[in-house]
């Protein structure tokens, strides 16, 4: 099974990527993949472990060069002039999986400013962007003057994400931005990403294993299976095929399963519920009459 999506803000065209070419450890991570991300929305990229999500992410901002095939932004091949690849990296911001390790400066503010400074911006502009990025990621002002090594894991994560946001990329790719955080931390970070997307009209790609998070925060979902595009669509289009998802090692959000259970027990609150918020609404609707009594 396979799908292709064309056009879009940023796309891969017949991209094959092999790791360690020419050694005994050669490994094909992506095999003739064509896919495209729509501009101005948040796309959730999901797929089981080792399906090639991180590889796709690094191809998008030119950290990896396709073994064959092309990567296009607004229809233009990013490898057309390899000398200009640094500019592509400014346009496509990339937050790696567990990005905490990339912090190195004396203070958080300086660390966030590293990217903008590399872009050659003016000091006043850099300062404004640092504050902006800190706001999106929910870093308090007193944090900014601390050493990044004094922070907790979750705070470090925010600093790392802020470091990329401060570059104001038009396309922002985040590899598991919320992995290993508490529910509130997840909400704050993902909410901040949504805010960034709205304020800048940016194209955002979030890689995640959490169906729950993606159901809430992503406008469209893309499923990758063994280095191929498997499905692309809205969360409803993806999550209504429970069997198909199971085949590729994924599952529907917990809340969907829960609502199915409820239905089996005789409480039918409706189909197509993928977020806790929707479930809340649906249950209220179901007990509509009793709501006012309870209040």
């Amino acid at each position: 099974m396979g799908e292709t999506v064309t056009g879009g803000k940023i796309s891969l065209e017949h991209v094959t990527y092999k790791y360690s070419v020419g050694t005994p450890f050669e490994k094909t991570a992506l095999d003739d993949v064509s896919l495209s991300f729509e501009g101005g929305i948040i796309t959730g990229l999901m797929g089981h472990t080792g399906s090639g999500k991180s590889t796709i992410a690094q191809l998008l901002n030119g950290l990896l060069k396709p073994t064959s095939g092309t990567v296009r932004i607004d229809g233009k091949d990013i490898w057309e002039d390899p000398k200009k690849i640094r500019e592509i990296r400014f346009r496509v911001g990339m937050v790696f999986q567990y990005p905490e390790y990339q912090l190195f400066e004396e203070t958080v503010a300086k660390d966030i400013a590293y990217g903008p400074r590399n872009m050659g911006l003016e000091e006043s502009e850099i300062e404004a962007r640092v504050l902006d990025a800190a706001r999106f990621t929910g870093l308090e002002a007193e944090c900014l003057e601390k050493s990044p090594f004094q922070l907790s894991g979750g705070q470090k994560r925010r600093v790392a994400i802020a470091g990329i946001m401060a570059m104001r990329p038009e396309i922002l790719v985040l590899d598991e931005p919320a992995a290993g955080l508490d529910p509130q931390g997840r909400r704050e970070i993902l909410g901040g990403i949504r805010e960034y997307q709205r304020e800048n009209g940016a194209t955002v790609i979030i890689i995640s294993h959490s169906m729950e998070d993606l159901a809430v925060y992503a406008d469209k979902l893309m499923v990758i299976n063994q280095g191929h595009l498997f499905r692309y669509g809205t969360s409803h289009e993806i999550f209504c095929h429970a069997e198909e998802l199971k085949q590729v090692g994924l599952s529907r959000p917990q809340i969907t399963k829960f609502m199915m259970e409820l239905k089996r027990e005789g409480l039918d609150a409706g189909e197509g519920i993928y977020t806790v918020g929707d479930a809340f609404e649906a249950v209220l609707r179901l007990f509509g009459g009793e709501r006012s009594h309870a209040e």
Partner: protein
Amino acid sequence: MLSDITLGQFFPGNSPLHKLDPRMKIFLIILFIVTIFCASSLLSFCLVLGSAAFLTILSRIPLRQILKGLRPLFLIMLFTAILNIFWTSGENLLWQWGFVKIYAEGLWYALFMIVRVVTLIIGSSVLLTYTTSPIALTDGLERVLSPLRVLHLPVHEFSMMMTIALRFIPTLIQETDKIINAQKARGADFTSGSLFQRMHALVPVMVPLFVSAFHRADELAVAMECRCYHGGEGRTRMTQLHLSGRDYLFLFFMLALFALVLLCNSVSFW
């Protein structure tokens, strides 16, 4: 990419050489080196060269790989060969032009020198580096050196340190790769600017690398202590090394080669 550098050059495989006991391999390679340096006649050099070729075939390492290993030494070999050709004096003058004299002896020396270096490298890489995993190698070394414990040398600790170091080299390389990529994504530029600027550009890589290396070392020490690691005393092994028939066969082969080479040395030819 940085991680494409194969360290220690180990080439996983299943050849007879891969299956040899690492202790035996260490001994064999010493014997082979001695043999190479004992060889002094054309016939004995042919023997040495032939056995190096034989070992290569046995190891099933692609020839391309072995030639790649020889390439860095090509210039040095060429240079010493030229030195040998022009500076060796002997009795059989072949050619003279002004003060430049070339003797037959010089040519022979140059040839022997090249054969020596080539067989030395092929022999050691095929016997040891290409066919022995780093872990097996340190294990073998620990056993070979274990008699030194009598002198209160911490043989086990050294080999443990070596094993850990070897184990973490790929991890560190991967990590460096990851950090370099993360900083590149933030616009780091490692390839342009003056030397000082380039060194400065490495700070964002070195700081996280050191931080994580120390962190990792700390975690590993705690993990080892949690499992009651307390040094080499009374420690048993998961994989016991046994000398098999194959090991003795190779030993016999190498001893025979040594004896033959000594014998052939007396067969002179010029």
